[in-house]
């Protein structure tokens, strides 16, 4: 089916246009309808691009391509080049779905100044769609930063405890990460000789002329720390649980679920294929730091009493899987990371959504002050259990998480052997904190504090306003868990075309093309 407009550009611009429209003093019902269009359309276009993703496409090619000149093409080689390949298409789809769920959840929430709230959320959504639709690295970065001011204001105005501190800390960390990765990208741009930020042009130029080992090491180092900070790599993670704990739930969903995938996606799509030798040099360090994410932060997550903080730490812990997958430098690892990102994005945003729903019923995030909620809210309990099982990666609701993690573990075993043991520990850790939370919140006797809360407030089960966004996430998660081929087939084709460079670098680390020779050859 041929759409009469460019689906990728529409997915970026429609939310932004909706946000602009919300500035007008519309009546609240009309404002919500406008917002709904802004959230629904990217999700529909996400499914559209997935369903119509061309099967005959060559591995290194992009579908739905289009180029727009913003005035810097001739001077700097920057143009808005949109397109999807097997790596970005699943994430584009996931961003649309999570955005829809976050938008629906925000619409039923009783936030103050709803127009501004929805408007800022739509700005975030437009940026997110842009991140995964951009072939041009400049715009990839640019769209990521779109969300920064919006996130800052949303956390500070509508956030919970410590919001002012959390908003500031988050923004400073994210800016540092973004600036470091920007330097990394500019380094690639200037040293490759392509005089363009276009990923395709860069790939071709580097395949032709190569990039010296020193440049690769510096560039990958900048990206490792830059993107690492953005994805909360241990030990630069402290902003994340704090920020997610303080942020309003829709923001946590979009940020932890989608925006943070920016960094991992940057590794899989850009850093590894362009800088294989640099990646090889940094890979051991990355492996160890990623294990820090899984083990250290996993243990911290177990120790949490605050439900939302626990979900936040849990999300940071799971990101470690993504990093070890990247550190394996193989197409198997990269494929696992992409699947994992989709699964994690859906499941972690589901958890954030549900824990806020729990909060609305218990009046607290402190798990010691809850208990026995299953009697009052059985449907919520069922959703929550499913989400917990999914995030553990159990086959069943968490099939997609399971495929992603399994692939990553296989890649780790191939690459580093014994390292798979501490990595597997992560599964046990997430089972411990997840099931323990389940028990504390929903089962057992209600705590004294919760009983007292019930006296004053009627505790009811979740209504359709909260069920629909949860179902949107859950159905997508289970659907792709049952039918992962729908994502892996285009993914495989792209990885087969792009990743031989990476695996070649790994297989022959001593060849002059990649080793530490010719320090300033270029």
């Amino acid at each position: 089916m041929q759409l009469p407009f460019d689906p990728l550009l529409a997915a970026i611009l429609v939310p932004l246009a909706a946000a602009l429209l919300l500035l007008a003093p519309l009546p609240i019902r009309a404002a919500k309808a406008v917002a709904l269009v802004g959230f629904l359309l990217p999700a529909l276009l996400g499914f559209h691009t997935w369903w119509h993703f061309p099967t005959e496409l060559g591995g290194a090619d992009y579908a739905f391509r289009s180029i727009y000149d913003t005035g810097l093409r001739d001077a700097l080689g920057i143009s808005l080049h949109l397109g999807l390949n097997g790596i970005s298409m699943p994430l584009f789809l996931m961003a649309g779905v999570v955005g829809l769920a976050a938008g629906l959840y925000a619409m039923q929430s009783k936030a103050e100044r709803p127009r501004l709230y929805l408007g800022l959320l739509l700005v975030m959504q437009g940026g997110l769609m842009g991140v995964f639709a951009s072939i041009d690295i400049f715009f990839f970065y640019f769209f990521h930063e779109f969300a920064l001011i919006a996130t800052f204001i949303m956390v500070g105005v509508w956030g919970g405890r410590d919001r002012s501190y959390a908003a500031m800390k988050m923004t400073i960390y994210l800016t540092l990460g973004a600036m470091l990765s920007l330097l990394g990208f500019i380094l690639i741009y200037t040293k490759s000789g392509a005089e363009s930020f276009d990923l395709i042009a860069l790939r071709e130029e580097i395949a032709l002329n190569g990039l010296s080992g020193t440049v690769q090491n510096y560039a990958f180092g900048l990206l490792l720390f830059g993107l690492g900070i953005l994805v909360s790599l241990f030990p630069f993670h402290t902003w994340a649980p704090l920020g997610y704990g303080a942020a309003p739930s829709s923001v946590s969903m979009l940020h932890a679920g989608v925006l943070k995938k920016f960094g991992l996606y940057g590794f899989v799509q850009i850093a590894l294929p362009l800088l294989p030798a640099g990646a090889l040099a940094w890979s051991p360090a990355l492996l160890w730091l990623a294990l820090g994410n899984i083990v250290v932060i996993g243990l911290i997550a177990i120790a949490q009493r605050d439900l939302k903080q626990m979900v936040g730490y849990g999300s940071v812990m799971h990101v470690g899987y993504g990093f070890i997958g990247v550190a394996c430098l193989s197409s198997l690892g990269a494929g696992g990371v992409v699947l994992f990102m989709v699964a994690h994005g859906l499941s972690v945003s589901l958890l954030f959504l549900l824990s806020t729903s729990v909060y609305h019923r218990t009046g607290t995030f402190d798990m010691d002050d809850m208990g026995g909620l299953v009697k009052k809210a059985p449907v919520l309990a069922a959703f929550f259990l499913t989400a917990v099982l999914a995030s553990i990666g159990l086959p069943g609701p968490g099939l997609l998480n399971f495929w992603g993690e399994l692939t990553i573990f296989m890649a780790v075993y191939d690459h580093a052997g014994w390292m798979v043991v501490p990595a597997l520990l992560g599964v046990v850790i997430s089972a411990i904190y997840g099931l323990r939370a389940m028990g504390k919140v929903f089962y057992g006797q209600p705590s004294a504090a919760f009983l007292k809360h019930q006296e004053k407030n009627a505790v009811t089960d979740i209504g359709w306003g909260e069920r629909i966004p949860a179902l949107v996430l859950l159905v997508t998660l289970v659907g792709f868990g049952v039918w992962p081929r729908a994502l892996t087939e285009p993914l495989n084709r792209t990885l087969e075309a792009v990743y031989p460079v990476v695996e070649a670098a790994k297989a022959a680390p001593a060849t002059p093309a990649v080793a530490h020779v010719s320090a300033d050859a270029r």
Binding site: A75, E145, R163, M168, I172, L180
Partner: protein, 506 residues
């Protein structure tokens, strides 16, 4: 000089080439006449006439943007007409119009003579326009002095406010010092380049071209080196680069807000226009220039950002953050020595800086109470609820100053950083990144003050509530101007279009 040379010089006095400057001067004088002619009741019309007149001159300039005399010199090579010069003329005119608009709002809060303000602003603008096109040290100095003398008056304009008077005095003393340094430098260069016995000596040792020729023929001349450093130091005062930034916080605080904006944007741009011209002249002494400017740039970025961190007065905060912007811009200036298109990056940065700064200063003019020098972060409490429109403009302006996509300020930073990358200024880039991250704290701290409702400790018994000045309502033209500035910050962040392409090819 022979008679023939004098005749040739006289013949090159094509007055039509400086029609916009003459127009501004005539308009400025006309205002004074109107003040006498008009009855008192109609004096409120005069600022409108001033603004409309300036808009007319701007329009005329834009219509005739590429006149036949572009690329040539006039007035015996005092002026060099170029497209960059045309662009800067328009740039300073836009600044002048915006300052006049802000002046209308700010002067209404003071019991002050009104008309002279607009008069002086226009005279200063005319001098800046000449400065941007000068190709001769003599004209450079005269134009720069006209600008500085105008600012002496403007800075201490609210003469009932002791802080304003103090600021004026400080600006006078430091300004005189900087003029002296500049003059020393110019005289040294004039002396060595005009020495008939010297190799490569020139018969026009005040002209840029002659000096450059002499420097190229005499590498490593000691007196010339001293002259270069002194000249650069004199200009560094104008842009507020470390170690000549000492006047900035006090003067920015004491000056009336529109004048602060004028200093921050137009005066800084004029400084950079001069600096870019001088860097070209001094190119034969590249190592010296790069060393001097690199030390300045690194120190400027760090000092500006660190000093701004602790400020509570928003005018001081903007002043010190402006110091750091001068540092980033110096990166671009240094890069012009090896990367030709870096100058375009500097111009774009300054353009984005104009949009963002005037948006922020415009909001400040409305928030300010009768005491213009005391503008505190606390005055912005609950600002987003009380004045959503102004708060939106403020957020966009501050975001753009901080360099956050999708705003124009980010594009400016990106272009400058890319130029610096191409020139290989890696240590300075590292400092710049640190600076940008630090700046997030104070720019977003301001946004925090405006948007977040923060808990305040209850006041002790009997203590009066600290007075927050009531912000003035926004007039329609002012609202339009602020909205246009904010919208332009967004649009030029997203779509730079042919404008940026044109600017980058300068």
């Amino acid at each position: 000089m022979t008679i023939e040379q004098l005749q040739a010089a006289a013949a090159s006095n094509t007055w039509s080439t400086i029609a916009p400057e003459i127009g501004l001067g005539v308009l400025a004088l006309l205002l004074l006449v109107l003040e006498i002619v008009f009855p008192k009741k109609k004096h409120a019309l005069i600022p409108t006439i001033a603004i409309i007149g300036q808009l007319g001159i701007l329009l005329g300039l834009l219509i005739n943007f590429s006149p036949a005399y572009l690329g040539s010199t006039s007035f015996n090579s005092l002026l060099q007409h170029s497209e960059t010069g045309q662009y800067l003329r328009a740039f300073f005119l836009v600044c002048s119009i915006l300052v006049s608009l802000l002046g209308v709002v700010a002067l209404a809060k003071q019991r002050m003579p009104r008309i002279e303000f607009f008069h002086i602003v226009m005279v200063v603008t005319g001098a800046m326009m000449l400065l941007a096109q000068s190709a001769n040290f003599l004209l450079l100095f005269v134009a720069l002095e006209t600008v500085t003398v105008g600012f002496y008056i403007l800075v201490s304009y609210t003469r009932t406010n002791p802080l304003s008077l103090e600021a004026g005095l400080k600006y006078l003393v430091t300004g005189a010092l900087s003029s002296a340094l500049l003059l020393f430098g110019i005289v040294l260069l004039y002396g060595v380049a005009g020495n008939p016995a010297a190799l490569g000596s020139t018969d026009n040792p005040m002209g840029y071209f002659g000096v450059r020729q002499f420097l190229a023929a005499n590498p490593g001349d000691f007196l010339a080196s001293v002259g270069i450093v002194l000249t650069l130091a004199g200009v560094a005062f104008k842009i507020g680069a470390v170690p000549f930034q000492i006047w900035i916080p006090d003067v920015y605080q004491g000056a009336p807000t529109p004048v602060t904006a004028f200093l921050a944007v137009a005066s800084k741009t004029a400084g950079f226009a001069v600096l870019l011209g001088l860097v070209y002249v001094f190119q034969p002494y590249e190592t010296l220039v790069v060393t001097t400017l690199s030390i300045m740039a690194g120190a400027t970025i760090l000092f500006g950002n660190l000093a701004a961190l602790t400020q509570h007065n928003v005018k001081r905060l903007l002043g010190l953050s402006g110091v750091s912007h001068a540092g980033y811009l110096l990166l671009g200036v240094i890069a012009t020595l090896s990367v030709p298109d870096a100058a375009g990056a500097v111009w774009f940065y300054l353009f984005a800086y104009l949009l963002a700064s005037f948006a922020v200063f415009g909001v400040m003019t409305h928030v300010a109470g009768p005491n213009d020098a005391e503008q505190d972060l606390d005055h912005y409490a609950d600002f987003a609820k009380k004045r959503p429109y102004l708060a939106g403009v403020l957020a966009i302006g501050l975001g753009s100053l901080a360099g956050i996509p999708p705003l124009a300020g980010f594009m400016g930073k990106l272009l400058v950083f890319m130029a610096a990358f191409k020139a290989g200024l890696y240590p300075l880039l590292a400092i710049a990144v640190v600076g940008v991250v630090i700046s997030i704290y104070y720019y977003f701290g301001w946004m925090k003050a405006a948007y977040f409702s923060t808990w305040r400790p209850p006041l002790p018994e009997g203590e009066p509530e600290p007075a927050v000045p009531a912000s003035t309502p926004v007039s329609f033209p002012m609202g339009l101007a602020l909205g246009a500035l904010a919208a332009a910050s967004v649009v030029f962040g997203l779509y730079q279009g042919p404008f940026a392409a044109w600017l980058l090819s300068r």
